[in-house]
Symmetry: none
Subunit: 224 residues, 2 copies
DNA sequence: ACAAAACTTCAGCTTTCCTTCAGATTTTCG
DNA sequence: CGAAAATCTGAAGGAAAGCTGAAGTTTTGT
């Protein structure tokens, strides 16, 4: 999952990044309103975490702008104060959840998952494509009652495919979703082949159809 | 899709080209006002990306000239400043969209697609010509509920025809659109015949009429 | 600190697509 | 009608993209 964290407290930011990366997320960061605004306007994230108290403007403003332009982006407000006012205005402005500092990182993670579940998968924990079940809560994939042992990258890849059924995804887009923006500067995206191959092999071995179709010179399509 | 990028920052330009080529687009470039003006006046593009801050003149001027001469060319303004003035004047002068540096390349791509969708296809993702449906998002062509397996060139060719129904397109113009402006220096454009032939054959085999009419000594017309 | 798992790189192989070539067919125009 | 130019066609060669197994590197977990 691709996240943006708008937070100026360096220590907290580092903690969050370390933790969330370990959980398998791609993390981008912004340290103030301006950076946050730029990133938010120019890129798609699954969830944006916004600290209300950030330099150069109000986090609530950023939230408002984000929600008006990209209403289906998940948003979580983070605030130092436990003030009811902030909470109410945050949720009124369209935040999907609200977290008060200090918080436990697993709690944050749980909320991120909950928000995307509500936003992307119609409140459903399980993404199902015919015989393939993706349990997003447990990060587990099941085909015909057998769990398929996927590596993190393979899992992300499958979930990304399943969330974009029947659309052509360029190798570029796929790489960006799984590795982050830095792949733009790479001249070689061949490593994608490996994960496609391994994912295909495991799914087929588990008894699923090979829904991953290659689209010559562009990328792949998860065709159902 | 055929794009022109007017941008003097070499690094940014290279990044954009790499990315957009990977997405299957033909990219032409101009590094200043003069080059941009020449290219724009002498060739046809689906979308022109213009950096406002370019040598030898104002990007907004170029935009104005382009829009007055070829109003249906898609245009996206790129600006380093996050100034409202630029944005307003850019959009007032007829730009179809506006992007602030720094931007993420997928965002750029999304906007290019959005602009052409609005400009060329009446805001529709599906281009339909009688029994032929071109699903631009899925990169899929369907005739009578059967998908037609087209190669990249064939697909581009068909989409180009379908976007220019009933207009005579010269072989030269077609070649420029599919291969880029470098075909100007070629004395032999015979390879176009092949793709026309293959496209015709596949469409007819799928049960469609042969809308591609040859216009002797000129080129072709997609007649509906 | 070690072993296991995951990721990346590399080199060779297969497939798909594009271009070239040579010859046949059609169109135009004197 | 006949010749020249343009177009069409099938087949072959070459180029590019995709696939794969194995080796090397990094990361993870104990």
């Amino acid at each position: 999952m691709k996240l943006l964290i708008v937070e100026d407290n360096r220590d907290l930011l580092d903690n969050m990044i370390t933790f969330l990366k370990r959980e398998g997320h791609i993390c981008e960061t912004a340290k103030d309103y301006r950076q946050g605004f730029d990133k938010v306007m120019t890129h798609a994230y699954d969830v944006v975490l916004i600290d209300i108290m950030i330099p150069h403007g109000d986090g609530l403003n950023l939230l408002k702008e984000l929600k008006s332009l990209k209403p289906d982006t998940g948003t979580i407000i983070i605030s130092a104060k436990n003030s009811l006012d902030d909470k109410v205005s945050g949720l009124e402005l369209g935040a999907d959840d609200y977290l008060t500092k200090p918080f436990q990182l697993p709690e944050l993670h749980a909320r991120i998952k909950a928000v995307t579940r509500r936003n992307r998968h119609n409140g459903n924990d399980i993404v199902q494509v015919h015989e393939i079940e993706i349990h997003t809560g447990k990060r587990e994939v099941i085909v015909d009652d057998n769990t398929v042992g996927l590596t993190p990258k393979e899992y992300d890849l499958l979930l990304y495919f399943a969330s974009n059924k029947n659309f052509v995804l360029s190798k570029q887009t796929i790489a960006e979703h799984l590795w982050g923006d830095y792949v733009d500067h790479l001249e070689n995206l061949d490593f994608v082949y490996q994960h496609i191959k391994n994912l295909r092999k495991k799914l087929v071995a588990a008894g699923a159809n090979d829904y991953i179709k290659s689209v010559y010179s562009i990328g792949y399509k998860f065709k159902v």
